[in-house]
Amino acid sequence: MKRPLKVLIAKAGLDGHERGALVVAMGLRDAGMEVVYTGIRNTPEQIVAAAMQEDVDVIGLSSLSGGHMAQFKRVMELLKKQKVRGMLVFAGGIIPDDDVKKLKKLGIKEVFGPGSTIASIAEFITKSRR
């Protein structure tokens, strides 16, 4: 049996704005993916530990409070430290254009801002993992 894509959706840092992450999680569920949702106020350490124990294919990080540079960078560092290879990481939330470039340099494949459709996120994941 071919397993569905497994995705972790998490919010890093002190950010309680959960609606967007939950909408994406449900949208990816509707796109046939298995989505582990770990909710708000995760530390980067928690996120990476969860991704490893769950053996996910994809990590989606959400931030709307401005902490994305510090938090997401730490996630990428920890993934490297744990020698996790081939993990697709994407992000979403309120993230300035300048930071989008920096995040992509860190290895975050795509950043979805306000107005992004679920379909575009699902398509991005499916294409990147194919």
Binding site: M1, R3, M33, N42, E45, A50, Q53, D55
Partner: protein, 319 residues
């Protein structure tokens, strides 16, 4: 732990996809205590497990958790939201949590649950907790795999007639009324009592929110384990678990061979005869049983190529 975290997580993924556990690992199982936690959706099973993990870790016991949520019958996807409630020990190496989607298996657990329990057992976890999907009255498969079944309910879920019904209520070794902080639920809770011969099922009030009753629950689970050991029932239950697991594997292999046999030309003739009303369905089954499944040894051997063989093939072709 007898297995590195990364090794275990990849192993579990393979088992989840239907591959069998390597024999040498199965030989190392039988040491973990298996707890089943079941009950309707939203009663607080995951939050309660978060508390249990905390309590068990204080006793220096390592804990593996299998947390199951339903697969969507519409999209085939799933939202796995149990782990979210179990973050108290999220960076603790003595705790391993894996979320699973049912992938259309009914009964409250997944096809792969027995094998994944073995994997966590072989990896050296002292306690393996299986959290079922939010269950109804009839999803009782966890009783086939667990040594101790804890059924979690909450106040106001029904009267004594509900309690008297078959199914879920019958499989409880321990009954928990969680969210006891609500509705001022204090009425008849009973403590666990046992002699070596008889287990009196306790009702325990807990609140995963405040932590109330968790120590009592852990005590009851220990007591139940002691009862199982002293009464000899543990051995019986484990034997039942083995029988159930082998039966299911056998059933799935036999049903695969039936489906395969039905593809053949002989079967097609029989089915056509049923459609023309020359045979009735029972006659057809009789004929199929003797003519195809019974006599055609070569074809049945062919279609029942071991699951191990199929799994190896799957592994080669990727996920």
């Amino acid at each position: 732990m007898k297995m590195r975290g990364n090794e275990l997580t990849k192993l579990v993924t393979r088992l989840e996809s239907g591959e069998p556990l390597p024999t040498e690992l199965y030989r190392r199982t039988g040491n973990a205590r298996i707890l089943g936690i079941t009950g309707p959706p939203g009663v607080g099973k995951s939050s309660l497990i978060d508390r249990l993990i905390d309590n068990l870790r204080r006793q220096h016991k390592t804990v593996g958790v299998i947390a199951i949520d339903p697969t969507s019958p519409i999209s085939g996807g799933a939202l796995l939201g149990d782990r979210l409630r179990m973050q108290r020990h999220s960076e603790d190496e003595g705790v391993f949590i894996r979320s699973l989607a049912t992938r259309h298996h009914h009964g409250g657990v997944t096809d792969s649950t027995p094998q994944i329990i073995h994997a966590l057992d072989a990896a050296g976890f002292d306690i393996v907790i299986v959290e079922t999907v939010g269950t109804g009255q009839d999803e009782v498969e966890v009783a086939e795999v667990a040594d101790t079944v804890v059924v979690v309910l909450m106040p106001e879920l029904g009267d004594e007639i509900q309690r008297a019904k078959s199914g879920l209520m019958e499989i409880a070794d321990i009954l928990v009324i969680n969210k006891a902080d609500l509705f001022n639920a204090r009425a008849p809770a009973t403590g666990p009592q046992y002699s070596a011969l008889k287990w009196e099922r306790p009702t325990i009030h807990t609140s995963a929110k405040t932590g109330e009753g968790i120590t009592t629950l852990c005590g009851a689970m220990d007591l139940h384990h002691a009862y199982l050991v002293h009464s000899g029932e543990l051995a019986e239950r484990r034997e039942r678990a083995v029988r159930a697991e082998v039966t299911r594997l056998l059933q799935s292999r036999v049903s695969a061979s039936i489906l395969c046999a039905l593809e053949g030309p002989q079967a097609q003739t029989i089915l056509t005869d049923v459609a023309k009303r020359k045979l009735d369905p029972y006659d057809a089954v009789e004929k199929l049983t003797t003519e195809i499944l019974g006599s055609n040894k070569r074809s049945s051997k062919h279609v029942t190529t071991s699951t191990r063989g199929q799994a190896a093939k799957r592994r080669k072709t990727g996920r």
